[in-house]
Symmetry: C2
Subunit: 407 residues, 2 copies
């Protein structure tokens, strides 16, 4: 679509005047699922690379170890015309900082990236975040191609338009909204993903399932135990469906208001996809990032579901079904060191980030949710009770399993 | 306007699929001219500030010294409900770095800025650049209100959507496109602007005049000598006209393609407003920022005009008229330490920033220009001759003045 820009109004009143500038811009990107992306005969990635400008390929150390050789082979099919530089970026949630964004920018200078250059990031959500922000800032924005290698990257961090780094102790406080050129999904990367990271991805998938997609919830519920094994044979189809349904659920929510324009949408910060993301920033930070993002999200979901039940928003059977699913996916529903007072004290910062309201997502059924807007309605007593109850959940597991067997 | 986002295409081919995400976003901002902005009875600034979220007001040390008291008094009219924090940001072109952007972000954390908070920047182009980028990154974008206090800020840095900081020795290598909420113009700030900085603003004005606006060129030509005095009495009207015409010229060019979308406009990086901005990054850096931005722009314009004349693009009389104007505005047309070899060697970096072409702006008359696209057409010999010729220009000034007297 055309970008139209111009003068809406120009008024003269003596020496006072007003001039309005208006411009419309379109963002467009593709998410492509291509199993076998790094095989020698797959040309998807190569066909996206421009031949008239240098490109920078960023990998994490583990991506490089597992796939670096295959990636280089695949890109070599590109021919001698390609001007590719590589960077190995060691990164983790705990050190997802501006320093790393600047390190990528410095490498982009060395690689002589031009305005039409591309940064290709092959890695997990943290690397995608860092490279996304670097690509946004370098020459005021060059193209980025994302190749997520983790489940979180495929269904969450890689497919939206948000990036961010931690700053001054706050998670993702600095960042931008910026679309990639393309995001390439290859489920076979999950074959080498450590079990704990796979579980973290399943936490995000359970999030989407609970508030957006009964179909995905049923799929997770049916295959919860098998999904954690190696992705081969009969489970391959389920993994593909899980990824596709998770992406569809995420995009259907994101696309309502992709750039979070609060001037256009009064409920911009009441987002169902924030389920599991209200208490989790505190949990991640308080644990010194010993809890991974997905684990913190799992505990947050458990707390939210239990709150929804106690506040009369969610029925007992559905609450039990969600807690049970989190548990069966091997995810934590409590953290022994959680201090309810500190958790409650972390919430005003969430309110600031959500434009003045808490907007805690409370599931009201599978696929639906309401929002607890006012922080004052969340008493420390209630929170303390919920946290204590969840700590005792494992002890109740026997009864729970019996209940499931009867379903 | 509505933001519309959704699926353009969703195709299934076995386990391969493609999903396109598309979103349109509108940016809109106002430029308001309000003489007497800081007077106690002017409510323009106060009326723009939100009462439901804290705001951060950033001033440079000189702005604070000259206008801090008046600004605080003016804002005090806002009443006790306003939650305002202040920051004094010492900055210059030479240290316009990411560190300063992060310093503003750190102050924004201390000031507990929320998603709907505003950063008000009262200062020159450098401060506007730094605060603009900080506002873009903080919480992925909060509102910024710009109050430029320099002529460059009023007619250039403050009114577009670009911001940037220097990185790794390159000028404005990191930045973003991001619209402000409002830009408030008060010409009376120029009363306290040091003469050298006023001249730098006049260089940008001469740039706009030469390639976009014969009306502005005539105004500058007619009042060149008087514009450098204090803005009072009879020259007040001319100063207002100069600012208004400069802004109109800039916006008429910018609004053709506000966000520099090269995917939509093949000639995105052939911009008339880049007149004076091809050799100037080298000049600024090579002089260790002893040359101010506007001075480097003036020398660049002189070189470009002389090149245009020698390449047969511009007639002799117009070339002389432009050089004469630059000279009469008290601006340099050469820099004794300029080394043509080094100047030429700096150009491949400009080519990278302009998507593969040099796009040197060559005026072809007052208000029109062509572009020298191919760096290879700019020989070192020609450049050396032009630089030598301009060095001798002052010696020829007597003859020039006589020529002017005859016009």
């Amino acid at each position: 679509m055309q970008e139209a820009a111009g003068r809406a109004l120009s008024e003269h009143r003596g020496e006072q005047w007003l001039r309005s500038v208006r411009a419309v811009r379109e963002e467009r990107y593709d998410i492509l699922c291509r199993p076998g992306l790094l095989s020698r005969d797959d040309e998807t990635l190569v066909s996206l690379l421009r031949t008239d400008a240098p490109a920078l390929v960023v990998m994490t150390p583990s991506t490089d170890r597992l796939y670096g050789k295959a990636l280089r082979h695949s890109l070599a099919a590109h021919g001698p015309g390609a001007d590719l530089s590589f960077m190995i970026l060691a990164c983790s949630e705990a050190d997802k900082m501006t320093e790393q964004v600047l390190a990528v920018c410095r490498r982009a200078v060395e690689a002589r990236l031009a305005r039409r250059s591309q940064i290709v990031c092959v890695g997990g959500g943290v690397a995608l975040d860092i490279c996304g922000l670097a690509a946004t800032l370098f020459r005021r924005g060059i193209c980025q191609i994302r190749v997520p290698t983790t489940l979180i990257g495929m269904i969450d961090a890689g497919i939206g338009v948000k990036n961010g780094v931690n700053f001054d102790g706050s998670k993702s406080l600095l960042g931008s909204f910026s679309a990639c050129e393309a995001c390439l999904i290859d489920p076979s990367f999950l074959d080498t993903l450590p079990r704990r990271h796979l579980q973290c991805g399943l936490a995000e998938s359970a999030k989407i399932a609970t508030v957006c997609s009964p179909e995905l919830f049923d799929l997770l519920d049916m295959h919860a135990d098998g999904l954690l094994g190696p992705i081969c044979g009969t489970l391959l189809g389920q993994t593909h469906d899980l990824i596709r349904l998770s992406i569809e659920g995420t995009l259907s929510e994101l696309s309502l208001n992709l750039f979070e324009r609060r001037d256009l949408f009064p409920n911009t910060y009441a987002r169902k996809l924030d389920f599991g993301h209200t208490f989790s920033p505190y949990l991640e930070a308080a644990s010194g990032h010993i809890l991974l993002h997905g684990e913190a999200v799992a505990i947050d979901m458990a707390v939210s579901v239990e709150l929804a039940y106690r506040l009369g928003v969610l029925d007992r059977a559905t609450r039990t079904r969600v807690l049970d699913l989190i548990y069966r996916l091997g995810l934590p529903i409590h953290w022994p060191e959680l201090r309810p007072e500190a958790l409650r004290a972390s919430l005003p910062s969430v309110v600031r980030h959500r434009d003045g309201a808490l907007n805690l997502v409370l599931p009201s059924g599978i696929g639906t949710a309401t929002f607890l807007k006012d922080l004052r309605e969340l008493s420390l007593n209630l929170l303390t009770e919920v946290v204590q109850d969840l700590a005792e959940w494992p002890a109740k597991k026997g009864a729970l399993d019996n209940a499931r067997a009867r379903r």
